[in-house]
Amino acid sequence: MTERELYDGCLAGDRNAQKELYENTAPSMLGVCLRYLGNRADAEDVMQDAYIRIFSSLNKFHYKSAGSLSAWMSRIMVNSSIDFLRKKSRLQAGLPVIEGAVPDIEEEPEPSSVRSVPAAVLMDMVASLPDGYRTVFNLVAVERMRHREVAKMLGISIGTSTSRYQRARRMLARMIESYEKSTK
């Protein structure tokens, strides 16, 4: 079935359509949750709850074109992941110590061959970032949100969002640089 047909079927409460939509999209949706949460167990829990939200609120979504449904589902995954982190107070936890460990004045390395690094390795690197850094990095670098929007979404200042993003970049750049050196 096409995405549109799956949407119509899910909207009508067709359990088979729901199952097919789930099986088609769960790998990428779990990838989204994993990017934000850093561990698979939490990511799976959040994804399950997010799917329930998706199926129960599908009538609020207006299908526009191919890909719009998965984009909408992806946004729900992001929001559910951030809600989870917020509830666990993980957006702030442990940051002061780690923030001090990465001097602001340190020059950011410029990894030259990111494309040669396997996606699973990059995901592990992102997962190793502190929750607060990882969240901001994902929102800014992947979702392409502005710091101002990130700040409002997370309830932090723009300055905090900016500094977390810059530090996350430096940390990732160093990890990638070190991975490149180790594989040469």
């Binding site: 990511a43 129960s56 494309r115 502005r146 710091h147």
Partner: protein, 471 residues
């Protein structure tokens, strides 16, 4: 350069944004059971969360509205300061004036007096209707109009016309009542205001010396309606405040203002021309409330009365729009609110001229520094646009300025104001935005002895614009 620097980020995004976790689809059975068991409950939970979010917005909007209402209520309901004392202090003056008026024809005196004339009053009448909407309540506007309409008959007939409906004016004997028809404009119980006077005992003593035998008849002390005429409210941005005020200095003792009235002029530009035009029209000599005040002063001169000493110190002044430079720092808390404070520097210029020197004008400059404390609530937050309400207070002091003996700066008094504004901000970047904030301020009454636009015009509008940096 920036593109090169971000290239590895773009590559990283491409690698991980579509990352798929193998075996994720195996969780359908568990999900299916959850859907069967409690999808409705979960959905209700989600819906209730959404409702809570909506309620949160409504609560914030409610708080903002309540704050705005509180500011408006304070502005409209605060009692006018020292109106009683104004009557008490001015009453001796009116007695002096009464006696003199009997000796000198009002028309003769009027020709020399720097006064607010009927034309000014009429101009004010026209302006009042315009000003009323942005300045105060409709009731206040009605009061203003009423005062103006009362002034016109006085001008036409040169009669001792206290305003019709004015209880105290009705009490004054017609034969003696000079055309001083300064009337309180608060008949409608509004914020309209006319006269403000600072009590000064030495002045009363002086009058007692001037009338050693008869003294000052008690009945006359309160026999005058200080007309006034005008509302202190509402000089908005782009409007000049023109005032006439009598000052006295005798034997080195500064006598605080005895009486004054002021008039709003609708003037989008504070040009010299506008100001001079306002002053010159005041001096044209048509009888009106304020005019008669000054004419009586002049009468004192001609009659050799001791009160003549007051007349040559009568001063007409015009406040120019204050210019303000602010530096704020704010701290956001939560996603939609912030607290802000900073420093606000204001420069005030007042042009004034003494009756004795004709149209020769001087400029007094005062410098103020204030510390505001405001709360700000976002009511609209778009990626590049914010709209917000803010409310707060500011404490302000005069740092100094032109030290004229009659308009000397008061560096002791603390000026407290309540402020509210609605603002819009356009975000040029994450860290830079430009904003505009139309706002309203109310300055609480104080005991300052100096002429200040804050006291003459406690309710004012402002338009702040600037640049906001986010660190």
């Amino acid at each position: 350069m920036k593109q090169n620097k971000d290239k590895w980020i773009d590559d990283l995004k491409e690698q991980i944004s579509g990352y798929e976790v193998p075996g994720a689809g195996a969780g359908w059975d568990a999900l299916s059971r959850k859907l069967d068991a409690g999808a409705a409950g979960k959905a209700a939970g989600g819906a209730s969360a959404g409702t809570a979010a909506g309620r949160g917005w409504k609560v914030r909007a409610g708080i903002a509205a309540a704050a705005a209402a509180a500011v408006a209520a304070v502005v409209l309901l605060l009692p006018e300061k020292s109106e009683d004392s104004a009557v008490a202090v001015n009453s001796p003056v009116t007695e002096v004036v009464d006696n003199a008026a009997a000796e000198v024809p009002a028309s003769e005196a009027l020709s020399d007096a720097p006064v607010l004339d009927a034309a000014s009053a009429a101009a004010f009448a026209a302006n009042a209707a315009v000003d009323a909407v942005p300045t105060a309540s409709g009731a206040a506007a009605a009061a203003i109009s009423g005062v103006v309409s009362d002034l016109q008959p006085a001008a036409a007939g040169s009669a001792p016309s206290a305003a019709a409906g004015s209880e105290k004016a009705a009490d004054a004997p017609a034969g003696q009542s000079s055309p001083i028809t300064v009337e309180k404009a608060d008949a409608a119980g509004t914020a309209a205001r006319t006269v403000k006077t600072v009590t000064d005992k030495s002045f009363e003593d002086l009058l007692a010396e001037a009338y050693p035998d008869e003294g000052v008849p008690e009945g006359r002390r309160h026999g005058w309606n200080i007309t006034a005429g005008t509302s202190a409210v509402g000089a908005g941005a782009g409007e000049a405040l023109v005032a006439t005020r009598a000052l006295s200095r005798i034997e080195g003792i500064f006598i605080p203002p005895l009486f004054y009235s002021f008039d709003l002029k609708s003037s989008p530009v504070y040009s010299e021309g506008m100001i001079s035009s306002g002053v010159s029209s005041e001096m044209s000599g048509n009888p009106s409330s304020s005019a008669t005040c000054n004419s009586v002063d002049m009468a004192q001169v001609k009659s050799g009365n001791v009160a003549s000493e007051f007349s040559d110190k009568a001063v007409s002044y015009t406040h120019r729009q204050p210019v303000r430079i602010s530096l704020f720092i704010s701290r956001e808390f939560g996603a939609a609110s912030a607290v802000e404070s900073g420093l606000v520097y204001s420069i005030h210029r007042t042009e004034y001229a003494f009756a004795a020197s004709g149209t020769k004008s001087n400029v007094r400059t005062l410098h103020y520094l204030g510390i505001p404390l405001n709360l700000r609530w976002n009511i609209v937050a778009r990626p590049q646009f914010d709209a917000y309400l803010k409310a707060g207070a500011m404490a302000e002091k005069c740092l100094g300025g032109t030290n004229d003996i009659y308009l000397r700066p008061d560096t002791r008094t603390l000026y407290l104001s309540l402020n509210g504004a609605a603002g819009a901000e356009y975000l040029i970047s994450d860290h830079l935005g430009i904003f505009a904030e139309p706002g309203i301020s109310y300055y609480l009454p104080n005991d300052s002895y100096t002429i200040s636009i804050y006291n003459d015009n406690p309710l004012s509008f402002s338009l702040n614009a600037g640049v906001r940096f986010r660190l």
